[in-house]
Amino acid sequence: MPESSLEVDNLHLWRGEQHVLRGVGFALGAGQCLKVTGANGAGKTSLLRTLAGLMYPEEGEVRWGGRNVRRDLRAFQGALAYLGHEPPLKADLTARENLHYWIGSRRRLSAATLTQSLARVGAEAFAERMVRTLSAGQRRRVALAGLALCLVPLWLLDEPATNLDADGQTLVGSLIAEQLARGGLAVAAVHHELPAAVGAVQRLELTA
């Protein structure tokens, strides 16, 4: 199996009395995107967190490159980027400082790369502002800059276009398209359609 493949087999996840994931399975190869849909509470976020190794399923297996991710969870987690509902940003740091500390724990970043990434998502104008003073959409753009800077093969995105205007949603589409073009994979949980730029995607609908 090539390294860039994600296979999920018969995932079952319980939260107390609630059977959140009921035998979820799919396979994703290099350059492919999976769109996960479902009503509120259907388990979209739980699926992404389980894929990321943040939640432990009662049954089933997640394989990365044909190997069970639990065999070397840290290495697998180093190969993925997870963007949840809330951007993982510190209110009392500037946008640039946030990226420096967030992505800096993964790889070395030059100031120029950081600047380019912030410009790429239209965040250069507020790069030096404290995150607490940014709007929800601006914070999301900073988080997208971080996502792009991770340069990892697997993206797990939970409502990536939340709080973004039309331009921002197109930006999300182009970022995902670039990720797929370089052979990466993306799993995106969304309520609505993914931006057209993403192209053809596989679909998985979860039911509550």
Partner: protein, 248 residues
């Protein structure tokens, strides 16, 4: 705000270039970054720093008012008063150890960074000790003087507080990790960490007592150092396991 949808400024790497895209950082480097980040954040929110210290100062100042200004009498209660106040002040600070990072998703990103969570949490605990334990140790001589301790006892008392506060921060990291997902967890955090902190309280108070009496305090200091070494060895592992479970 208009978005410029331009071609990426850097060439998009192919899949086999991911590893070469930027030199990965080692665990030590990532931990050093986490330490610097926490120190920077703390100095931008000084209120959280001052709170435990103000509490410590207030409690130790209350004893002369409540008991008696008689120095001989104060000297007798000084060891217990100092260490009880230090322990309670530390408890106040434990609450902030991981809480903000859990709320804003930073802890999740630490788990997903591919780095050793143990090393990252140890760095956070070290930052916590530098920001609460060290200032506490700096304040202790003044508090000890107000409780009638002779100046000759101050180096010994400070050394005991430095060693004891290391262990207290490490114990706090375990408690903070376990109670991470629990709302209004202050009481539970105290219940969990206070019993574990008792050896520090006992040996610390004994060292302070001996320092005030002019006795040899090597034995309790060695025991405090041993506890600190044990804490440094085991607590970060326990804290990392607790955080992983709490984040689930």
């Amino acid at each position: 705000m208009s978005v410029r949808l331009v071609q990426p400024a850097v060439a998009v790497p192919a899949l086999n270039e991911y590893a070469a895209a930027g030199a990965p950082v080692g665990a030590l480097e990532a931990a050093a970054l986490a330490l610097r980040r926490d120190l920077k954040l703390a100095f931008r929110k000084p209120a959280q720093l001052v709170q435990p210290l103000a509490f410590f100062a207030l409690v130790t100042m209350l004893f002369p008012l409540a008991i008696s200004p008689e120095l001989a009498q104060l000297r007798q209660v000084a060891p217990g008063a100092l260490w009880a106040a230090a322990l309670l002040a530390s408890l106040l600070a434990f609450e902030f150890l991981f809480r903000d990072d859990a709320l804003d998703g930073t802890l999740e990103q630490y788990v997903l960074s591919g780095q050793s969570l143990t090393a990252l949490l140890f760095a956070k605990t070290l930052a916590h000790w530098l920001l609460t334990g060290v200032p506490l140790a700096c304040m202790t001589p003044f508090a000890a003087l107000s409780l009638g301790a002779p100046t000759s006892a101050l180096p010994g008392i400070s050394a005991a507080v430095v060693l004891g506060s290391i262990t207290l921060s490490l114990i706090g990291s375990i408690g903070a990790g376990i109670t991470l997902g629990i709302k209004r967890s202050s009481a539970l955090l105290s219940l969990l960490t206070l019993p574990l902190s008792l050896p520090v309280l006992i040996f610390g108070a004994r060292a302070t007592q001996l320092a005030i009496a002019g006795g040899a305090l090597v034995a309790p200091l060695e025991l405090l150092a041993a506890l600190a070494v044990l804490g440094v060895t085991l607590a970060p592992l326990a804290a990392a396991a607790a955080v992983r479970i709490s984040l689930e």
